[in-house]
Symmetry: C2
Subunit: 494 residues, 2 copies
């Protein structure tokens, strides 16, 4: 991981802070190491780096001034929301400014009739739903971190959640974003209309991890709160049957509000922690949620039950009331901390495979456990084919760390070979730069660099993240020829 | 409209044809004017231009060879599907090669379990649904031209249709596209997984009107054919009530399978043509479709009926059977030809506004009829806020033509002022280049040019379309300052 840019000299740092002091009040600039240390990592704590400075602007004019200043000085800018990202997208740059948007926390408008909300980028995901609740509406994407993570960070990472199978990812729920280009020009993406003319730059902005622009305000779609939700918990005595059942539910024309899977090691870890009532004999369990009107839910629950039974479920329980439904989900939502209780460390992967290959990848991961001599708990957004294998290891044992890295790389390469992708919803950040070389040819990575260059020719926005350099592709790529290298070489290095 | 590139000299044309003959069989190259004339326009027949040559490759290798040849010679390449586009996106370039993909008409795989189809780009939209029908599946986006238009053209234009309110635009139904870059490099966008790592280049490819790459193969999502569909026809004695009813249906949490609106001049023109049983006394009618299981449909029809009644509908009829449902739709689907019967010419616009402004735009268009002394029939994808006003005029009367152009521009500018966009689903092509200057700042258009440049630095793919040049922005733009001009000037001219 090349996050080892040399730290700035004291002179460089002083010059940058002095320039920022021209456009920001003193309390909005942090640069002493005790003040910047809290910003040294995001949710991916394996990588840490103190920034040259942290700024906390309060107005759009200040954001613009910061960007103009940094652009003029050639100082990298790393935008930061709540810092809950899991791939190091908000990892500071040693010679850069971390642009915290924490103070952009106002909900500007809830328009119940248009079913939209206009919010500042630093508003927490869950706060949008709370503000919309009096109108019977909510914001659908629900990453596990929704109590803390911000809509700006969701836009940067194209966040998902357990309900995105039915309700879509962030990109499907954002209508408009406004903010500033790398050199401080105001810019808007999308509109309140369904579609927009010309190239769909909003779609490429969402998920671009702060590389293309800094977003300050977002218009999101709100959806009606379903009148009822019920959840089925189904047990399987065979991991292949459970995987096949997921594909069968979808193939039957049902789009559940959530469709999650856990394997036996995971349910055991979770049950011991939150007592969700999971079947500890099952090799795998599925959680299948239905929401809508009572009539819709009743009919869908019946159909799902029939499909699951046909696929060999050994036990099927449907939540009788809201308390039981929440208890079923409490296990799923605590899968990560539950893993933390049974192992000193765990590495969470995020690859996605075509749904019909679920059973195949599960069996492949079981074989890898033998090969690398490490245990792995599996929790999946199964309906999306989005895996979250948690490889358990002890980071203090260099050999275990090494085997864990090989294990992770093997999962990612196997996912790509099955027609999948290395990241479903956690982003690339710094963590998956090498994986990008596996998934994409140098030519394809060069196209992404070209798009980056179109927005940010001087490469001041979050440089070094998301898209691998030519050198990295040459070292880690599945191929470095196919005509891509020359064009790649013409592009600036990040 | 700058489609007035000088035609090639005979020597230039001979050289290009000779080079293409090295890589294609003779029958796959057309260059004599009687052979190329059928390709001189697409569905926007107001603009015509014969290409230097037309090629009809049959294999991906031939497509690659054509692209390599044209790139080497600096000859523009305009990809063409069925030529049904409505904004001139496939209008030939006088010095360019029209790359017809008509022979890529094979359905490669229907995977009922994964609910996907892999098809060549020249497969007709409806042919996908026909091939999927034995599995109880279909391809959801249904542009009016679906019997003729191809999936490659749908990808280029991000086509919609009457069902896209519930089922999404093309971009929401395409998982993967493969093809070639401008210089003939093979490239893939997306994957069979739900999301993809890095920048979402598939999303920017869809709707890019042949400017970024040439697509030869597409993986689309299939959805289950609903067990039942029923359609409500509702009459209103006031256009504002009808517009408000559309917003009220959506605000009530209902996403109809289709939600269309026609005003009185439109229903009269249509009824006279196809006898769909429309209410000729109504100032506006709505068609609201519900699909799903019988239980879902019954419940949704009840809820929609209650909302429409609450909004003042003067008559509500629900289709009793499939024949009646199809009769209701026959009028809507024949709105364009019906307009052709009552006027020598009509100009169809395609702007989109936030749904809650429907009534406002309708009243504004009524006022414009007085201002410009021309009649306008209105048919809307009302649920999406996507307008298709048909301005009636006689192209042989220069004054009427001029007033019609002003009328159209006024509708577009008013749509943008209401928070909408100049094109909902027909694309920009050559038709809306000036409108792009109204909707977007020079800076924003420059970003789109930057993306174009990242994919196609030599600008051989469909040059001169979709994104206005600096000169055009300066002439037609809402603004030409705001810092965008200089960066714009650094970019190549198309």
């Amino acid at each position: 991981m090349d996050i080892t840019a040399a730290p700035p000299t004291a002179t460089e740092q002083r010059a940058a802070v002095a320039a920022l002091s021209q456009v920001l009040p003193a309390h909005a600039i942090l640069w002493q190491s005790e003040d910047t240390t809290p910003y040294e990592c995001d949710g991916l704590s394996a990588y840490r780096q103190r920034p040259m400075a942290v700024v906390l602007p309060e107005t759009e004019d200040q954001v613009q001034a910061v960007l103009r200043t940094c652009h003029r000085l050639g100082v990298p800018v790393v935008a930061r929301g709540a810092g809950t990202g899991l791939s190091g997208g908000a990892l500071p740059h040693a010679r850069g400014v971390t642009l915290s948007l924490a103070r952009f926390n106002k909900i500007l408008k809830i328009d119940a009739r248009a079913r939209t909300a206009i919010v500042q980028c630093g508003v927490r995901n869950l706060a949008i739903s709370e503000a919309a609740a009096p109108h019977g509406l909510y914001y659908a994407p629900d990453p596990s971190s929704q109590i803390a993570c911000t809509i700006g960070g969701n836009v940067a990472e194209n966040s998902g959640g357990v309900h995105c199978l039915k309700y879509g990812l962030t990109v499907h729920n954002v209508l408009r974003a406004r903010g500033f280009t790398a050199d401080g020009e105001p810019v808007e993406f999308g509109s309140e209309a369904l579609d927009v003319a010309g190239l769909d730059l909003l779609a490429v902005l969402v998920g671009s991890e702060g590389m293309l622009a800094v977003v300050t305000e977002v218009t999101v779609r709100l959806v009606p709160k379903p009148r009822l939700a019920r959840c089925i918990m189904a047990s399987f005595d065979d991991i292949r049957k459970a995987g096949d059942a997921v594909a069968a539910v979808i193939a039957a024309g049902i789009i559940p509000a959530g469709l999650e899977m856990m394997d036996k090691p995971m349910t055991i870890a979770v049950e011991d922690y939150v007592h969700a009532g999971y079947d500890l004999e099952a090799e795998a369990i599925l959680l299948c949620e239905s929401d809508g009107t009572p009539e819709e839910v009743a009919e869908e629950i019946d159909r799902m039950t029939a499909v699951l039974r046909g696929c060999g479920a050994t036990a099927i329980t449907c939540s009788a009331d809201e308390a039981e439904r929440l208890r079923f989900w409490s296990g799923r939502k605590n899968a990560f901390p539950a893993s933390g209780r049974i192992s000193p460390d765990y590495m969470c992967l995020d690859s996605t495979i075509p749904r019909k290959r679920l059973a195949d990848i599960l069996l492949a991961i079981q074989a890898m456990e033998q090969k690398y001599g490490l245990r792995c708990c599996n929790v999946f957004h199964a309906g999306d084919g989005n895996l979250h294998p948690l490889v358990l290891f002890d980071a203090n044992d260099p050999d275990q760390l090494h085997r864990c890295e090989l294990f992770g790389a093997d999962i990612l390469e196997t996912s790509v070979a099955m027609g999948g992708t290395v990241s479903g919803e956690h982003g690339v950040g710094v963590e998956k730069l090498n994986s990008m070389c596996v998934q994409f040819s140098a030519e394809e990575n060069a196209q992404m660099l070209g798009v980056k260059h179109a927005f940010d020719p001087a490469s001041v926005l979050n440089p070094g993240k998301v898209i691998p350099t030519l050198a990295r592709c040459a070292e880690y790529g599945r191929e470095v020829v196919r005509g891509g290298v020359q064009r790649f070489a013409e592009l600036p290095r990040f």
